[in-house]
């Protein structure tokens, strides 16, 4: 039984990362931007796990757990910022939010 080649796993991770990057660049709703950042972090974690599986080491999964921790902290602060943004500007558009001074 042949295993899945490393290149295919990394290709999958890079496609996911590219989709997340497209989302960050193309969308203007800040909730979608945060979701796309989550997709990108997830893709990075997949790349770590795939590479760890290639050399049969646990380090890839350790890095995945650390990325997961970082994503959880990031999303809690990010969602709090979104609520603050909405209460102050009554919009979720990132272009309008860039007008704030100070």
């Amino acid at each position: 039984m042949a295993s899945v080649p490393l290149a295919h796993g990394l290709l999958f991770a890079s496609i996911l990362f590219a989709l997340g990057l497209i989302g960050v660049l193309a969308r203007r709703n800040v909730i979608f931007v945060l979701m796309s950042v989550e997709i990108m972090l997830n893709a990075a974690g997949v790349a770590f796990v795939v590479a760890g599986a290639r050399w049969a080491q646990a380090d890839g999964q350790v890095m995945f757990i650390l990325i997961l921790t970082m994503a959880a902290a990031e999303v809690s602060v990010g969602l709090a910022l979104i609520l603050l943004l909405y209460h102050r500007f009554k919009t979720l558009d990132t272009d309008l939010a860039s007008r704030m001074r100070g």
Binding site: F12, A53, V62, T69
Partner: protein, 172 residues
């Protein structure tokens, strides 16, 4: 049995494309959950069952519920009930359900085949991960706990609805 990897990766890519192309935030969130479940199956096929379980529990469970709470908070208003009935149309949920059905069929196939890891790779279980995490990486665990504490304090400070927060808002 490599087909399980390819099928679930195609499901993940399709669901992710639906996330970034969707106009409604809740529909996008539905597809994002599907994408994360598909990624969990990919991790499982790569012999990382612990990472797959964490992906389901933390990403598809906790983080997505946080997103849902915030979207629901922002959507409160007289339109809420009308939106609720619109969201329950079959056209909305048939796509994610079809993708999840593919994943479910794959999972049943894997389990029926004796729970053997289809990637043919060596399985790295929770025991090996834990030994590595609390052995050479113990400093990283401490740093992660500090990061989580900083996230907690930051989220509390930003979400505070006190007199101080309002005054700060008026100044800026």
């Amino acid at each position: 049995m490599n087909a399980t990897f390819y099928i679930s990766s195609i499901v993940a890519i399709l669901a992710t494309a639906m996330v970034i192309g969707n106009l409604n935030a809740v529909h996008a969130l539905l597809y994002l959950v599907v994408s994360l479940l598909a990624v969990a199956l990919v991790l499982f096929t790569f012999g990382a069952p612990f990472a797959a379980a964490l992906e389901v529990i933390i990403y598809a469970g906790a983080i997505m519920v946080l997103f849902l709470f915030v979207i629901m908070t922002l959507n409160l208003g007289p339109h809420a009930k009308k939106q609720e009935s619109e969201w329950l149309k079959p056209k909305i949920w048939i796509g994610p359900v079809a993708l999840v059905a593919i994943l479910m069929a794959e999972l049943i196939y894997i389990l029926a085949a004796g729970a053997e890891h289809p990637g043919g790779t060596q399985v790295i279980g929770p025991r090996a991960v834990a030994l590595s995490l609390f052995g050479p990486y113990v400093l990283a665990v401490e740093l992660a706990s500090i990061l989580l504490l900083a996230g907690l304090v930051g989220a509390y400070h930003l979400g505070r609805r006190g007199k101080g927060a309002r005054r700060e808002g008026e100044i800026i």
